[in-house]
């Protein structure tokens, strides 16, 4: 009798440990998602700023960034991938010109923002992947430990950052 009660109490403790872990995973997915949204927004803004400062040189960037801004739920991945490609074609194809010298702060911001999207997406998909694995467990399904929380989706886009050519005046070389 005492043994059964003890076993039940231990099992209950184990279950609450598993639920706490699931909670934390869901929380991790939520914060990673917010981070991803912030990173995507920063990149769109950086692309628009560069296009505005580049007076005509980066028109396709502003188009792609606007499209990504306005894309509906189902099209966002496609629109953001298009922006990644637009960044690469417009920044990698023609070499750095003298005019780029004036755009140095905008270019640096685009470079950092594109890197940030890659990081944020990697971390978000990592959180989603861990959550999927945890929720596949038989115990979690049998006791409905995940409750009503929705199963998060991966966010798959082409997020390869552009390789911006080194500007003529580099850091001092000893």
């Amino acid at each position: 009798m005492v043994g059964t009660l003890l076993a039940l109490a231990l099992f209950g403790f184990y279950l609450s440990w598993r639920v706490t872990r699931l909670h934390r995973l869901h929380h991790r997915v939520d914060t990673a998602r917010a981070g991803l949204e912030a990173a995507l927004l920063r990149r769109r803004t950086a692309a628009l700023d560069l296009a505005a400062a580049g007076t005509g040189a980066f028109d396709e960037l502003s188009e792609a960034a606007e499209a990504a801004h306005e894309a509906g739920e189902g099209q966002r991945d496609l629109a953001e991938s298009t922006l990644s490609r637009a960044l690469r074609t417009s920044l990698e194809s023609h070499g750095a010109t003298e005019r780029w010298e004036l755009l140095r702060p905008q270019l640096a911001e685009v470079e950092a923002a594109a890197k940030g999207v890659h990081m944020a997406r990697t971390f978000y998909n990592g959180a989603v992947s861990d959550t999927h694995r945890a929720r596949r467990s038989r115990l979690v399904r049998a006791f409905r430990l995940a409750g009503t929380a929705p199963l998060p989706d991966f966010f798959e886009i082409d997020d390869q950052p552009p390789r911006i050519p080194v500007l003529p005046v580099g850091p001092d070389i000893p």
Partner: protein, 397 residues
Amino acid sequence: MRVGLVCPYAWDVPGGVQQHVGDLAEALIGMGHEVSVLAPVGDAQGGRLPEYLVPAGKPVPVPYNGSVARLSFGPRIASRVRRWIAEGGFDVLHIHEPSSPSVSLLACWAADGPLVATFHTSNPRSRAMAVSSPALRSAMEKINGRIAVSEAARRTLVEHLGGDAVLIPNGVAVRRFARAEPLPGWPGEGGSIGFLGRLDEPRKGLGVLLEAFTLMAPARPSLRLLVAGPGDPSTAMAVVPEHLRERVVLLGRLDDADKVRAYHSADVFCAPNLGGESFGIVLTEAMAAGASIVASDIPAFSAVLDGGAAGELFTVGDPVHMAERAGALLDAPERRAELSVAARRAVHAYDWDTVAADVAHVYQTVLMWDGAGHGRPEGVRLDTGPRATALLHRGTP
């Protein structure tokens, strides 16, 4: 930003991870962050420990990952880790090799809040065992952002943990290597070739260099080799004929200052590694010193040397090709000067300042906070364990 770094291996024993954590800490401090490093310390070296280091306790030697690692584990260490976290007030905790059974794993268990982890190992077998255990899985799934130091380390992690990691390479403290006096008597008049690395580990390729030297030596009567590194040289030296041996100068293990001088002491620096290098820290150090380099064309080296633009590449394991390339360089001082400038330029991408900025970017992504200004997140807390009420509201975080 307040950053807590956790290093699993004994601080007083030289090693790649310890070096990485120390350099990262210094670069982050240089950027204006507050940094505290927690690591096992066996011998306090009379107070020569850096100011940012918090000793976690005495390490014990444990066979791990095919060699003997000096780790700290156990309830007493665990309570020190908890105290360090509770008193640190960190915005983010950055744990190195989180699955190693030392302070790293203890910190993963003890902490709740923004966690970043860097994976260094690229040994496919070590992690297989580690991740199957639920206790380890519960630690790994707390990590918000993962970093791998090389493509090989990333692949290991993807295979055994699932998910993915951001690739941020090892850095090199370019400034530390940039200038130094050559060792006395070097580089000398008749040409010299330098090598740094373990002498008795075949994959470091000393054998290839010595064979190439044997081929070059008859035509170059005063060519000398500078060989620095620990280990027993007798096996590798067997290929060198007796009368040439006095021209192979074995310096043994060098301290840090002399190591920097060694990079400046030879006309040509050689990295003849046969493979198994995921990055090539020796190569980037030589580049930071502005050495003109001859290296084997393994993928890692070819990538670091920009496909041959920042140093000559030769077919891996081929002493004839190596002798040809090194000989051509010894005869062309202008080409050496060109390569030296190109190497210094290419190594900038691996400078700790660049690398640490990327790591700080990871912190900012995880925290959604730029490290200054408004919106400072809650930071790292102690894990309070399972909550009994958690069962009542499932799925509503």
